[in-house]
Symmetry: C2
Subunit: 342 residues, 2 copies
DNA sequence: CTAATTTATGAAAACATTTGCAAAACTATT
DNA sequence: AATAGTTTTGCAAATGTTTTCATAAATTAG
């Protein structure tokens, strides 16, 4: 490997080294079958000697795809998004795409700014998290005519194809389970809902389902808790210390439920005989925690994978490839943290 | 907002709409102070009307920075890496950079391929995870003269600046703690170490520390367990069911320790009175789990942040900015899962 | 051994920008 | 009102590729 003394090698450097024209080198990469195998060999060696690396930026300005996909999520700090992104990334990497990743931290203004930046980089497609976005975001997407999918949530009439689970269904499943066990004294713990359509949808449907069964949740049992195990543990402890405590606690996600489980243990309560705790999500660890958590599975890996596939298809074949939404059904998972009231 | 009927607007479209030359539009973006405020206004409106979005690909071929940084990690599925990446991303986004993210799943061949792809995209810098990489990776980095930092681990003489914690120190801290409590019957649970220098370093130092205190770990107490709560729970259960069980279990990371804690509970053991369980990492949730986990904190957020800062500095100011390594010291965190043997 | 095909290569234009240089348009000064 | 000095703008070349079209080389047929 002869070190290249001069600056970065470009296609012309390689052409000279191989004693061919730049066009031929270009063909070597893009249509190798058009070359005589002797020239191919020659170029091969020249590429190696010069340490040449193709410049995608230069290709991109010819209208050739950039080979990048913009991924916009709220935050990687929630393991569930990390899981979705990992699956998405695997799916698109298998087809030669690389992801540009950015997080907006539930700030819809930042989401718009990030999307613009993605477009400056000429991404071939974009994934957004959730269904709810600033109108400006959708308009930008419309005007650029760029493939886009909304990942994580599903809704039939979403503005762009949505691939994910139906939060309403998830919320209903868990609420019905708790009701069917016979609970009437029910508390709820949900994350703040600003800029977070997922949490909002779940909370609404849970309350509606309870109400239509004649159960109303008392105000002081309606907890808004930050997405963190420590906060939920604290709030649960406070809730469980009251003389008058609920027989069941429905949590908006498994992180909150995990904290609530710890909080119950710390308060000296036994789950599920003293109190039922359920979550939504079936995160990693939810099945191993003691007691194992009753929850509703949102198939994160599957969602990420399907979203990746769908977007790549839409990119590669823009006419027929513009697929529709896909519902990845949530599934009730009964484990040990729920039981009939004492 | 007049919709742009024709294809994508380029700088020429804008120039026509504003009745100036393309150069002036270019200056509008790159050196606005050179323009008369009247022309600036005119261009401003033209940009808006045409819906023009700058093309970074076209800029990049002029040697202008691409504004992207390649981030190469083993996997996002380990929450700790997700946390590091999030912090890194925040740090560089604040300076206008966007990250290209890819994971290699502990496959060093893939790492090389991904790095090449990053270079094709003309990233302005690269972060790799851990100190250990294929020689080809380093050579490629050398030949391209691109800023690079090794994130997560620290070692004094690393080939590129390393920013992270010293795993040896972390391993030593936890081993010394367990020894100082008086344990002699000690088991270890570590993840598979192929392609994973972090885990390897930790295991070696733990064993060495124990040995130099006269404690040898029996073969059947030397567990190799996949990084997952369910696997570690199973393995821990098996370990704890034996008639002859250890008085302490040192786990290579907090995920394994969490599973071990669950496994102990499931086996009817009380931690820490029956058995001590400790981890390494201080992951999210480690302080809230019941009993709270004794561990060594690896400051993930700080590491990600510092790495981001360092890389951006090296990119922006290549001469003086090529900073050195940075050690983010691990810290022993004593909690409730450890106690002297019965 | 030509002529007719087919295959392989090169020249030049195109892509969307930036930038050095020079010209034009202002200002200030006399 | 003319000149000198500044500020603002445009022209054209450059960036690293791809691609169309044309030409040269190789192959096949007659």
């Amino acid at each position: 490997m002869t070190a290249n003394k001069s600056k970065k090698a470009d296609i012309i450097t390689v052409a000279k080294a191989a004693r061919v024209s730049p066009s031929t080198v270009s063909r070597y990469f893009n249509h190798p079958e058009l070359l005589k195998s002797a020239t191919r060999k020659r170029i091969d060696s020249a590429v190696r000697r010069t340490g040449y690396i193709r410049n995608r930026a230069a290709q991109t300005i010819h209208g050739i795809r950039s080979g990048t996909i913009g991924v916009l999520i709220p935050t990687l700090d929630h393991a569930i998004f990390a899981e979705v992104v990992q699956a998405f990334s695997d799916a698109v990497a298998a087809q030669g795409f690389t992801i540009l990743l950015a997080s907006h931290g539930y700030d819809l203004q930042r989401e718009y700014a990030i999307l613009r930046k993605f477009l400056e980089h000429r991404v071939d497609g974009v994934v957004l998290t959730g269904l709810d976005h600033d109108e400006a975001v959708f308009q930008l997407l419309d005007s650029q005519e760029i493939p886009c999918v909304l990942m994580w949530n599903y809704a039939a009439g979403s503005r762009y194809p949505s691939i994910g689970a139906d939060n309403e269904q998830a919320g209903r499943l868990i609420a019905e389970h708790v009701l069917s066990l016979g609970h009437r004294q029910i508390a709820c713990m949900f994350p703040p809902t600003n800029g977070n359509d997922r949490a909002l949808a779940r909370r609404e449907i849970v309350l509606t389902t309870l109400r239509s069964a004649g159960v109303t949740v008392r105000d002081e049992w309606m907890l808004t808790t930050r997405y963190s195990i420590s906060d939920s543990k604290e709030d649960a402890k406070r809730l469980f210390c009251q003389t008058n405590r609920p027989s069941a606690l429905i949590c908006g996600n498994d992180i909150l439920a995990t904290g609530a489980l710890y909080g119950a243990t710390a308060s000296g309560l036994i789950v599920p005989s003293d109190v039922t705790v359920v979550g939504i999500g079936d995160f990693k660890g939810s099945s191993e925690i003691e007691p194992a958590l009753t929850t509703v599975r949102l198939p994160a890996r599957r969602i990420g994978h399907e979203a990746g596939q769908a977007l790549v298809t839409a990119i590669i074949d823009p006419v027929s490839g513009a697929g529709g939404s896909l519902h990845c059904a949530p599934e009730f998972i009964g484990r040990q943290s729920s039981a009939p009231p004492a």
